[in-house]
């Protein structure tokens, strides 16, 4: 793990650590919480054959939609791609291998990895095709589906505020998958609008303790917000 004193990076240096073929968790539910600036840097640096894990595929032309359209994503693990017509088309043409996971299971698979568990037992999806090929186990007189934890090499997360040690605070519904992914990946790169000196954030206000975070990048709200306003409503 990166030393506390060495986490504050430039965005170029942080993203340069990601190799071709990496598996990357990306925070965000729709636009809120999506680390747009980190994604744009990944697009600029050219990494390819990526496996992305994100709740959704953003919308055409923004967020991971850009990476999908640039042909940089081989595989996507997601709960739905309904808001991104181009991702649906890429999936239907066989150019993008999409694994669809019910949203709560996706969250819990990531949380399990982050909590240091290798799998959990659940009844979600029983009686549907989701559970058709799932391994099962009997415990306490009931049959449970075994859901493996979901790991990744990297996580890209968005926080409202951070400090130089990597403590993170999320805002409103921009939290979503970010704190889960920040615990589940081997290397966690966080972008934040502010990166303060340690001591400026109240200890009880921290959502993700710095122990889980590898690198912190300050991003300008003006550029970091690119695409947010494209969202419906």
């Amino acid at each position: 793990m990166t030393l506390l004193t060495h986490k504050h990076r430039t965005i170029e240096a942080a993203i340069a650590a990601i190799p071709h073929g990496a598996s990357i968790m990306v925070g965000g539910f729709g636009s809120p919480g999506t680390p747009f600036a980190l994604i744009d840097e990944l697009l600029a640096q050219g990494q390819h054959d990526l496996t992305l894990i994100k709740n959704d595929a953003n919308e055409p032309g923004i967020g991971i939609g850009k990476l999908i359209e640039a042909g940089r994503v081989t595989r996507l693990v997601t709960s739905h791609v309904g808001l991104n017509r181009r991702a649906i088309d890429a999936m239907n043409r066989g150019e993008l291998d999409v694994t669809l996971v019910p949203q709560g299971l996706l969250a819990e698979k990531i949380r399990s990895a982050g909590a240091g568990h290798h799998a959990f037992l659940t009844d979600i999806g029983q009686g549907t095709e989701i559970a058709a090929e799932r391994r099962e186990i009997e415990l306490d007189g009931r049959v449970w589906g075994i859901e493996p934890a979901l790991y990744a090499d990297f996580a890209l997360v968005h926080a409202e505020r951070a400090d130089r040690y990597g403590n993170l605070i999320y805002r409103a519904t921009a939290s979503n998958f970010n704190p889960l992914m920040a615990m589940a990946a081997d290397t966690v790169i966080a972008q934040a609008y502010r990166v303060d000196e340690p001591g400026r954030l109240a200890p009880e206000a921290i959502h993700t303790p710095c122990a889980f975070v590898s690198q912190v990048v300050r991003v300008d709200p003006a550029t970091a917000e690119q695409g947010r306003r494209a969202h419906v409503g």
């Binding site: 997601t78 999409v98 019910p102």
Partner: protein
């Protein structure tokens, strides 16, 4: 919005009780927001991570970090909280959400629901519908009684892949309000101006109808 949709929503609003935690599914159910009295103490849950959301007032500036699960910019009411996706689905799986409304492609006499996939045509993913359908205490379906070709959506047995088995409590369409019971579908209310014979004609599932008890809506 069509007159049929307005009729469905006005009837659906009567399902919500003060003090409840309610989730509104994507599409027509989201519109129910506008049918709940502002002073009613109800917390609306949205699975992206908010409990206690409300529509923005006219002219109220959007907060770009605050959406509902359909992607609409929303606001919060007193008593609201925000949380991550794992907590949001823990709330659902632990049945701490009292009531949810969803649309349907098909729904059947056993309370089975299909609303996420049409093999070969439409499969963008299930989002949070599976957990909501399976675990929320009471699931009320809001949908048109027939599809755009006139085919019934209320069936004897669902033919499409299920969202969840035996999960539906009540079905509200433009033609009727039906409860799922151990004896099949029981009609509670029938639309104004519709005859029992016309309702049966428009429905594939067998309907139990006690004309003396039948309400209008």
């Amino acid at each position: 919005m069509s007159a049929d949709q307005t009729r469905i929503l006005a009837r659906a609003a009567r399902e919500v009780l003060p003090g409840q935690i309610v989730n509104l599914g994507i599409g027509l159910p989201t519109r129910l927001f506008h049918y709940l009295p502002a002073e009613m103490e109800v917390l609306v849950h949205s699975e992206n991570g908010v409990l206690g959301c409300r529509p923005r007032a006219e002219g109220e500036a959007p907060d770009y970090d605050m959406i509902d699960s359909g992607g609409t910019y929303i606001a919060t009411r007193p008593g609201a909280s925000v949380f991550d996706s794992a907590t949001s689905f823990a709330m659902i799986r632990r049945s701490r959400v009292d009531l949810t409304f969803m649309g349907a492609f098909e729904v059947d006499a056993e309370g089975n629901l299909a609303n996420w996939k049409i093999p070969g045509q439409f499969s963008p993913g299930i989002g949070g519908a599976m957990e909501l359908a399976q675990k929320v205490r009471r699931l009320v379906i809001l949908c048109s009684h027939n599809d755009k070709h006139g085919n019934p959506k209320v069936l004897e047995h669902c033919r499409l892949p299920l969202t969840a088995p035996r999960c539906v409590s009540r079905i509200i369409t433009d033609k009727a309000v039906m409860d799922v019971t151990p004896q099949g579908l029981a009609v509670v209310d029938i639309a104004e101006g519709l005859s029992v014979a016309e309702l049966r004609e428009a429905t594939e599932a067998e309907l139990n109808i006690d004309e003396r008890q039948l309400g209008r809506f």
